[in-house]
Structure formats: C-alpha cells, structure tokens
C-alpha cells in the first residue's frame, strides 16, 4: 500500500509575523520557513506505517514555489521514499491544492492519504476534507490514533468533549491532530540520504488543474490590540478588582 503525504511550506511556528504597512499581506521576506507542524506529524505517521510493514512506499507531495523542494527533502529525511513538487508561483488556496492532490491520487492510487489538519499560516483546515470529497473517499479528520488492518483504517478522532472512533474502508483520507505522534529528529545521515532520493517536478497544467480561485484577499490588518492591564500586588486586590471594577464574579 502506498501512502501519500502532502506537506506545506509555511512560516516557522516560532516566528511572529508582521502585517505589511500597505495592508496587502504579512511580511514573509527573510523569515524562517519550515514544514507545517501538522504535516510533520503526517509524515511521521506514514513512515511508522512503513516501518510496521503496513505501507510499502511513502510519497511526499508539496504544492507551491521552487523552495518547497527543501520541505520535501525534510520529508524524505524523516523517511519518505520519494517526492513530487507541483510547482506554481500562483497563490494556491485549499480547493486548488485539493484538486492537484486529487489528480495525484488518481495517478498514484495510494491506500491512504495523510495530511495535517490545518496549516498554521492560513489556518483554513479544509484541504483534507476537500480532497476526500473530490476523490469520494471516507475521511478521518483530527486523528489521534490510526490503525490499519484488513483493508480498513480505524481512526480515533479528537472531537469537542472527547474522542470518537470511525472505521473507514481504504482508500481513505486521514488528517492529523497534535497528539497522533511525536515526529523524530532528523539525523544528518538521513539528510544526506534524502538528497539522493527522487524528487519529480510537475506543473498544475500537467495535471490538468486550473488553480484560479474566486476568493480574493482585499486587505490584511493588525488585530485590535488589548489595552495594557495592570499588575496587582496580592490576591485580595485581585478579588476586589474582579468583584468591584470588572464585576465578572
């Protein structure tokens, strides 16, 4: 069984982004870029499935600019066998990415596609579910546990109030939540090995996908700032403020 793992190159989670003064977006020039943390969990899960003998090949995919090759090399250093970059300088929204992935699913016929549940830049939380819809496959989103056996995936999902388990007939789509696993550290020998692995580059047009979107960003602004608060010296003052000034208790 092949496992397809889409990964996104995003601003590193430790970077606090700044809104551009002209309101056209956030300034990502010269900031550190990394693999979306949820996608790293997805790669780790796929590699573990291969190590358990459940998966036979792990294919990492990224959609975006040339530099996404670095992100794909990281995926291969974690343990993906090969990679595909769908190269485009256009802004790729989740629906466009889902269409590109659908084309690759048709081509590669994976038994499982594991994606991060959300990218930490646009915070959309859409691509996996959209891919599932386009490919007409069952979905197990926000997974905290995945078990594959006998042509089915049993997926434990994080839902409001607790956990839920669904049984999906393969092929299926899984999106990862934070507690699915802890991705391994990438070692130098594995980084070196990853450089020798196959990385194919294709264009959206090669896959017959139109990536245009009808959702336009009109402006990007700073969020409203909270007024600076005060430090209180002791518990008694705190209780007094909450009771008599804010009147919240």
């Amino acid at each position: 069984m092949k496992v397809l793992v889409p990964v996104k190159r995003v601003v590193d989670y430790n970077v606090k982004v700044r809104v551009k003064s002209d309101g056209t977006g956030v300034d990502i020039a010269n900031v550190k870029m990394s693999m979306n943390p949820f996608d790293e969990i997805a790669v780790e899960e796929a590699v573990r499935l291969k190590e358990k003998g459940v998966a036979t090949e792990v294919i990492a995919v990224s959609c975006g600019v040339t530099q996404c090759q670095e992100t794909l090399r990281t995926a291969m250093a974690i343990g993906a066998d090969r990679a595909i970059l769908v190269e485009s300088t256009d802004e790729l929204q989740p629906l466009a990415v889902a269409k590109l992935l659908k084309a690759l699913v048709d081509k590669e016929q994976p038994g499982l596609v594991i994606l991060g549940k959300q990218a930490i830049d646009d915070d959309c939380n859409q691509t996996g579910q959209m891919l599932a819809a386009l490919a007409d496959l069952p979905q197990g989103t926000f997974a905290s546990k995945v078990e594959v056996a006998d042509g089915f995936a049993s997926v434990t999902r994080e839902v409001d109030g607790g956990l839920e388990t669904v049984k999906l007939k393969l092929p299926a789509i899984v999106t990862t939540d934070l507690r699915l696993n802890e991705p391994r550290y990438v070692t130098l020998p594995n980084i070196m090995k990853a450089k020798k692995k196959t990385l194919d580059v294709v264009k959206p047009s090669d896959l017959g996908v139109d990536v245009a979107s009808k959702i336009k960003t009109l402006k990007v602004a700073e969020p409203p700032k909270r007024g600076a608060g005060i430090k209180v010296p002791d518990v008694a003052t705190l209780v007094d403020k909450l009771k008599n000034v804010s009147k919240v208790i």
């Binding site: 579910q129 607790g162 669904v166 934070l178 336009k216």
Partner: protein, 310 residues
C-alpha cells in the same frame, strides 16, 4: 437569497454554537433556514424552529445521521444546497469536519472561521494564529462559511416561529462507519460556552497537581477547565481542554490563566476574553501583556488563597 445553517445538535437539543451561527447567517441578508440532520431528532428540529430569526427548519431523519458523520451530513446538505446563496456551519470540530466536503463538491472555496460579516460576499477572518485579520471577498456563487462563534452574539433560543419541514434523507455512505466515542461526562459548563474558564499550563507540574489546585477554583467559580498545549502534551489535562490556535477558541467573561507563559498559539485562543487574569511567577511571561490583571506569584500558594477569598 437565503442562507442555510447546519445545526449542531445532540438529537434532543440544539447546541449553543448553532445560535451564534444563526446570527452570522442573518447578517448575510435574506431568510435563514436551519438543517437538522439527525436520528430521532424531532425535539432538536422543534428547538431549531424556536431560534429567533429562523424562517424554516429542514429536518432529515435517519439512523446514519445519529453521530453526525461528515460523509452523510455533507451529502444531505448537497441534496438541499440549490437555492441557497450561503451555507454556514459553526467552526466546531463537527462543522470543520463537514463544511469543506460540501464546498469542494460545489466547486467553491470556503471561508473558514469568519469573525465578521461585512457584506453578503465580504468577510473578516483571522490568519496566522490571529496575528493578522484578513478581509476576503468571495466571488463564488455559493458562499460556504464556518463561523467562529466568539465573533457573533448568540441568537435568542426562543421567540422564533420557524415551521419544521421533513425532507427526504439521503442514503448512508457505505465506506465510513461510527464505532464509538469516549465523551467525558462532567457537570462543568462546556469550554466554548463557559462564562468563566480556569486554565492551567506547564507550571502545574503533574495531572494530580492540575486537578488538586485548579478544580477547587473552577468549582468555586462555576467555571470550565482549560489548558495550554504544553500542559496537554505533558499529559496533565485531556486533549479537548486545549485552548489555542489549533485547539478551542474561547472568549469567556473571565479567563484565569494559571502558570501559562502565553505563547502566541495560546493567546490566539483566548485573547478575545472580556477579562483576563494571569497568575505566573515569571515577571517576563508574555501572558502579562494581554492580562487585565496580572498577579506575579507562585500559583501553588496564590490559587488556594484565591479559592479561600472568593
């Protein structure tokens, strides 16, 4: 022009997030209809009709809707979608699971986590963990939205007079089945609906300490319990207590952060709270920059003292 709100419910009653979503739908202009897809869900459908502003309730009944599986609910929405200019879901675990399936099948983009409706086609939404607010315009024929409940007031749960229409249920999707769930039962208010939240961070040190120190405070305040990602990752608190960018987004009247340093990902989940209290012994903790009242103290002495003085 009409909007369809997909109700979140437990078959017997309507969940609170639905009410905020109705408010967002009303702001889009046009009539607001609510879909209740459930199993033995007549009571939930009746309750949906009582929501102020709801013109009509569509009730789809079927055993395969009992657990709200995305594959089944999305198919039901698609069967009813024609004629609606807007389809709205609460941005809860359930809404986020279903909405993109609907959008993709309609070949339209989705606007996630809408915090403000500017006009029928223009919306505000946070990006980068709330560090920037994007204004987006959708040129798609149907606007599929998920609604961040903290951005909208709840519509009144009574006073409406929406008639309930039964609609034909779509067949069950064969390739996905519900196996079971472990939903924690407790008497506390739901995290996203609570008026007061007591939240703990890594400084709690263990799950025993987390419970021993924070439970009495939550009991005294009638509060829900929350946690930072660090505390959840360390196993001090269950997964679904996580407040933050990728966990729950909350905006209670009072948020008490105990031993939480205040990473941007955590602030993204709680900075719209009305009053924020931070108790932390590190004077440099970033949580103090958003706190209305900061108490620089050891939480293991300050919190019990706080419990005593309430």
């Amino acid at each position: 022009m009409a909007a369809l709100v997909i109700a979140e419910h437990d078959n017997a009653s309507i969940k609170g997030a639905t009410l905020n979503t109705v408010t967002a739908a009303l702001a889009c202009g046009g009539d607001v209809h609510v879909l209740v897809a459930g199993h033995n869900a007549a009571a939930a459908a009746q309750a949906a009709g009582q929501i102020a502003g709801v013109a009509k309730v569509l009730h789809a009944e079927g055993e395969h809707f009992a657990h709200g599986l995305a594959e089944n609910v999305a198919a039901q929405v698609l069967a009813l979608a024609s004629g609606y200019s807007h389809i709205l879901f609460p941005a809860t675990a359930s809404g986020k699971n279903i909405a993109p399936r609907v959008a993709a099948k309609l070949d339209v983009g989705q606007v996630s986590d809408v915090t403000k409706v500017i006009s029928a086609d223009t919306f505000e939404r946070p990006i980068y963990a709330g560090n920037a607010i994007a204004t987006v315009q959708s040129g798609d024929a149907v606007k599929v939205l998920t609604v961040r409940t903290t951005g909208f007031d709840a519509a009144a749960a009574s006073g409406g007079s929406g008639a309930v229409d039964s609609v034909a249920a779509v067949p069950a999707y064969g390739s996905a089945t519900f196996v079971g769930s472990e939903i924690a039962k407790n008497d506390r208010p739901e995290l996203t609906a609570a008026k007061i939240i007591v939240s703990g961070g890594r400084a709690m040190g263990s799950s025993e300490k987390f419970n021993e120190v924070l439970t009495p405070l939550a009991d005294k305040l009638g509060a829900a319990l929350g946690a930072s990602r660090a505390a959840v990752d360390a196993g001090y608190a269950p997964n679904d207590w996580q407040v933050g960018q990728t966990g729950k987004i909350v905006a209670p009247q009072l948020y008490v952060a105990c031993g939480i340093s205040g990473a941007i990902q955590h602030l993204a989940g709680m900075k719209d709270s009305k009053v924020i209290v931070a108790i932390n012994k590190d004077p440099e903790a970033p949580i103090f920059s958003v706190a209305d009242y900061g108490l620089e103290a050891d939480l293991f002495t300050a919190v019990p003292e706080l419990v005593k003085s309430l």
